[in-house]
Subunit: 126 residues, 2 copies
DNA sequence: CTGTATCCAAGGAGATACTG
DNA sequence: CAGTATCTCCTTGGATACAG
């Protein structure tokens, strides 16, 4: 969610680290993933998101939505009724991103036990 | 790099968001990606990393290394010589993670122009 | 309903100095 | 060489109140 893309990570990997951090920057922030998941399934209203992401504040939800919209990952549609109705939906680009992220999910689940064991070992060794 | 894995993102996607944020947590932080890239190519010494990741402070490099080591993504080997010699190398698990991350890199490069355009459009629309 | 504006707390990260 | 210890700044995120 950071607007900053300094990419000061040296020349590691000939700019690969840079692209990578760029991609990760889009889904950084505590709520971006959740918003992406919800809006990938179809148009969702502000209040629906607020309910789905239990614990999110209005402020952070708004900031997250604006960030994703700005990057072209979300389309915001306003229906000028009263009360107002606003819908958010993921773009094709966002769906592609999400597909890649699913690979990470698989990795996380496959290695959850390994990681837990590594942590225990490390912590016990003080 | 955060030790915290509260995963408070509602029940979005039946825990998928949770696994995902877990995986992303391992590579969060400004220097994790760079360290992962360097140590994936083979054993590297502390000072070599310090040079490769230009701009990193000793403190942050140490914290990053400790975090990755704790999660079982890095192995730290100390050779008890004088002066001391310490080498870090990525584990198999880390290499798998890195492979998944390469997918994200490809996405970032393929859509760099789209994102830039989206940003310009958004910013111009105030 | 869908936000914006303010204030505040916690953690990430840099600079610097010191050590086995 | 390979760290640790402080101190401080800045960003992220939560709480709350207000508005079109």
């Amino acid at each position: 969610m950071s607007q900053r893309n300094e990419c000061v990570t040296g020349d590691v990997g000939g700019g690969e680290a840079c692209s990578l951090m760029e991609a990760l920057g889009r889904v950084s922030g505590k709520w971006s993933i959740g918003v992406l998941m919800e809006t990938t399934r179809g148009p969702v209203r502000f209040t629906e998101l607020e309910r789905a992401l239990s614990g999110v504040s209005r402020r952070m939800l708004t900031l997250t939505l604006r960030g994703l919209e700005r990057d072209g990952l979300l389309v915001r549609t306003v229906y000028p009724t009263v009360p107002p109705r606003v819908e958010y939906v993921a773009t094709e680009m966002a769906r592609e991103l999400y597909d890649h992220l699913l690979g990470l999910t698989e990795w996380a689940e496959r290695h959850r036990a390994d990681i837990a064991r590594a942590r225990d070992a490390y912590d016990n060794a003080t």
